[in-house]
Amino acid sequence: MTALRLEGISKHFGAIQALSDVSLSLAAGEVVGLMGDNGAGKSTLVKIIAGNFRPTQGGMFIKGREMQFHGPLDARRAGIEIVYQDLALCDNLSAAVNVFLGRELTRSVGPLRILDYPAMNARAATLFRELRSETRPRDKVKSMSGGQRQAVAIARTRLSDADIVLMDEPTAAISVRQVAEVLNLIRELKRQGVAVVLISHRMPDVFNVADRVIVLRRGRKVADKAIAATSPEEVTGLITGAIEHA
């Protein structure tokens, strides 16, 4: 089943053409590696899917229905979760509050609705354990390691039963052991039928977990191939432009 389909997506920021006429489709339970050089338009593409940007042109279809997102909340409601490249964390808040940022759990006390810290801490602790991360829910993010911060950002995507998870360089700036954990997590998502878009500059990551690789170059899609039908060398050539098209 097609979870997500993009048709002719273009996006420009003023004079900068970040994406031109990108079409792609994503099946449930499929992991797609999205690769490309710096500035190729990868983040822009996933931010359009996540409702942060509106495309200048083109259509987006979720389970066959055309969608227009007016903000990240719309995308979330449609079952899309994203890990942002810069993680989008607030240093001064606890790990648990960061996980729930924008959808905090509350409970009623008389006429007031107050934050339910115990519930958020408990849920976050469960998520961190599932991610095999040594992250303490009540610790401030300020004092956390790169891997712990990554875990906080990834835990966010597990709050809801998302159908589509977008990950913008989730393995940048973390240790080898933690990379393995993230890749395991992606396999687990796949097993549960979640469609995953994995942006990464690390060839081994993509060739480890992805079913398919899509290459963007200067805003254009130049390749869309099954992993089995390509090689790291070919993908490198496509990214740099040594190979024009595939």
Partner: protein, 340 residues
């Protein structure tokens, strides 16, 4: 034993939740507000010992009432600064709302109407501040600097730059509200306590408060996670203006008259109080307790100079030193944390 594993896992989970890098005491010692509180307490003890006139009920009554006005406005300023902004217009908003109150009551309307008008105008000013900052993305410093000028000018135009000291039929009620006391505690202090509790509660226990801290630390992240940042910012500046409005109403009652230089350069004392109390001008950090203690400390300095027979011209120097000291301590502590 396999049946135990579930309980063990739950226990382990609880342990993880409870575990934190710093304990209660550690966190308290890490709070600038705590050290300022200690400084204020020491100042009180020293003053009680050296100046007989300090620990008298009358002096304590005056000290607490005097700092209550600055502290009430500092509640609003705390929220603004935590959100990553600044509000320079509070002194002028205080004056404008006191003037609106005075004009309304002077025209024969009851206290309730005057208060309603005064607060409505304050909220409107806060809305304009917030809207310009959130929607047009003009820096808060510029917007509120402009408003500082506009609001005071409006007060002058409305009053013809004359002092108003007659408040119509409800005059006594107004004077009692701002200048009186309940069970021996000055009314402005009671207002401060109630508003401080409410503000502290809102910052700690509501989604609004969490979002205020979030935009102060990382506004982009807040936008990306779908928080309605423009509306949030507008609410923050409206809250600040409302606090200035409340202080203006109480001050009018206490002074028994409103002039157009009421609250002049008060924004500086208010910002000083919040910064001494641990608020970070870059946003993301600040506490209600700290700001109230900061305001108290400033008033204590002033009071002690008077009691010790030192010229009050020195007050500015002492307050200035405290601002720099408080922030310097904070920097030193931050250094230590990054080292360790």
């Amino acid at each position: 034993m396999p049946d135990n594993s579930g309980a063990n896992a739950a226990g382990a989970l609880e342990a993880v939740i409870d575990r934190q890098s710093h304990g209660m005491v550690g966190r308290m010692l890490g709070q600038q507000a705590f050290w300022v509180f200690l400084a204020a307490l020491l100042a009180c003890v020293a003053l009680s010992l050296t100046a007989d006139a300090f620990a008298t009920p009358q002096n304590l009554f005056n000290v607490t009432r005097n700092f209550a006005f600055v502290a009430i406005i500092a509640l609003g300023m705390t929220v603004v600064i935590v959100s990553g902004g600044i509000d320079l217009s509070v002194g002028s908003v205080l004056c404008l709302s006191a003037m609106i109150l005075a004009i309304t009551m002077n025209a024969g309307y009851p206290l309730a109407v005057g208060v309603a008008f005064a607060l409505a105008v304050a909220l409107l000013v806060g809305f304009v501040n917030g809207a310009l900052i959130a929607w047009l993305r003009i820096p808060p410093f510029i917007v509120t600097l402009g408003m500082l000028s506009i609001a005071r000018s409006a007060a002058m135009v409305l009053s013809g730059n004359k002092m108003i000291f007659q408040f119509g039929p409800d005059e006594k009620l107004l004077f009692a509200l701002g200048g009186g006391s309940t069970t021996g505690i000055p009314n402005p202090v009671i207002a401060l306590v109630l508003l401080a509790l409410a503000t502290g509660f809102a910052l700690r226990w509501t989604r609004w408060g969490t979002h205020v801290f979030a935009i102060g630390a990382n506004e982009k992240a807040a936008v990306l996670t779908g928080i309605g940042v423009p509306r949030l910012k507008i609410s923050v500046y409206m809250f600040s203006a409302a606090m200035a409005g409340v202080a203006g109403i109480l001050m009018a009652g206490w002074l028994g008259g409103v002039t157009t230089n009421l609250g002049q350069s008060m924004e500086l004392s208010v910002i000083a109080a919040t910064v001494i109390g641990g608020a970070n001008l870059l946003g993301g950090a600040g506490t209600v307790f700290g700001s109230v203690v900061g305001a108290a400390l400033i008033e204590l300095i002033r009071n002690s100079l008077i009691l010790l027979g030192i010229s009050t011209f020195w007050q500015g120097a002492f307050v200035g030193c405290f601002i720099v000291l408080a922030v310097a301590f904070d920097r030193i502590r931050a250094y230590r944390e990054t080292d360790g």
